[in-house]
């Protein structure tokens, strides 16, 4: 009897431990509250060097991660950001940043090509990339999962794709990640409201 009770206690303990571990694990993926310090050196679609987030301090940032070669999801994220941008009553003090996690291919010229193809207005939208290790650190900080996928496509594997998170972030003027939304399905009215609220913060 005593032995059974001990077993039950152990099982309950393990179950609690498991739940806590799971909670911590999930919690660990939530970047909200994280302060982006850096500064992370990046290049823009104009070929200019910037320090992120230092050079954008004081502005409310809409931040998404993408790659130019992405034909379906990243353009959807870009379109959703554009919808949000166009729905903002005032874009003063707001900046949309799209950071490429494919720096090997995404030269300033290709970033510019993407911005032009998808009608992303300047200077509101800044497309960025940087050294692989810098970009990797940033994606990890934001909890964005990026995995290069070997492709089954017909060019003998010369091109590659990424499996990646579908996310959009709201970062405040201090560089603190305030919210994470789905990138392709971000609720436009809600994001606009959140941006307005951050803009009105002292």
């Amino acid at each position: 009897m005593g032995k059974r009770r001990t077993q039950a206690k152990i099982m309950a303990f393990c179950a609690c431990g498991g739940i806590i571990a799971l909670w911590l694990g999930i919690g660990g993926c939530q970047p909200e509250g994280t302060v982006v310090r850096g500064p992370y050196p990046l290049w823009t679609q104009q070929g200019n060097r910037v320090e992120f987030p230092r050079d954008f301090r004081g502005r409310v940032l809409l931040v998404a991660f993408f790659y130019v070669q992405c034909p379906d999801i990243c353009p959807m994220i870009a379109q959703r950001m554009l919808q949000i941008w166009q729905a903002l009553p005032d874009t003063g003090g707001v900046q949309a940043l799209m950071i490429s996690f494919d720096p090997q291919r995404d030269s300033p010229e290709r970033l510019r090509d993407f911005a032009q193809a998808h009608g992303l207005p300047e200077p509101g939208f800044v497309l960025l990339s940087g050294k692989p290790e810098v970009v990797e650190e940033l994606t990890q900080l934001f909890g964005v999962v990026v995995q290069k996928t070997p492709t089954e496509f017909t060019d003998g594997g010369a091109s590659y794709f990424f499996a990646h998170s579908d996310a959009l972030f709201l970062v405040d003027g201090e560089g603190r990640i305030r919210r994470r939304y789905s990138g392709t399905e971000a609720p436009v009215a809600e994001v606009v409201r959140d941006v307005e609220q951050l803009r009105s913060e002292p």
């Binding site: 130019v68 379906d72 993407f114 009608g119 999962v145 996928t149 496509f153 499996a163 392709t184 399905e185």
Partner: protein, 158 residues
């Protein structure tokens, strides 16, 4: 001699009728994403099968793209988005298949030139029954705000 003519006529009618039934795929609302020369584009639209038999989309081609492939974007259990190649897409009889952002789509690689809003992409789709069908895809933004990803009813093989 007359009986042979009757047989031939019957065969002709049957073949003609079945051909008419088979060529019953309609391509509606097709459009393609703007793209730079080095950036792939994707085409979307609705394939309607008004026939009494299922048909299967086997391949696609375009004079404006070096490679054209059938793909599907899928969301895995962790919320990650991934693309995979689709070998064929079955369009059931009296039914339709929607190619849409975040779902099934036709990928256009190695474009001969950049695609800007206002341009048109000529797309050819080969069906098992209906053969090659052509559709002009205006290049532009999605016709309406892109909808959340929903599970479309479709059957296809990877």
């Amino acid at each position: 001699m007359r009986s042979w003519s009757a047989v031939l006529l019957c065969v002709g009618i049957i073949v003609g009728a079945s051909w008419a039934v088979q060529a019953s795929v309609q391509l509606k609302g097709f459009w393609a994403r703007p793209a730079g020369k080095a950036i792939p584009s994707a085409a979307y639209g609705v394939i309607v099968n008004t026939g009494a038999k299922a048909d299967t989309l086997l391949e696609a081609a375009s004079p404006q793209a070096g490679r054209v492939e059938l793909h599907e974007t899928v969301r895995d259990t962790t919320g990650r988005m991934q693309m995979r190649k689709v070998r064929q897409i079955v369009v059931p009889a009296q039914d339709s298949i929607v190619l849409r952002p975040g779902g099934l789509h036709i990928m256009l690689y190695d474009l001969t030139q950049a695609l800007r809003p206002g341009d048109t992409v000529q797309l050819r789709l080969r069906f098992a029954q209906a053969g090659w069908q052509q559709v002009a895809c205006p290049v532009g933004r999605p016709p309406r705000p892109e909808r959340p990803l929903q599970k479309e009813r479709h059957e296809h093989q990877h």
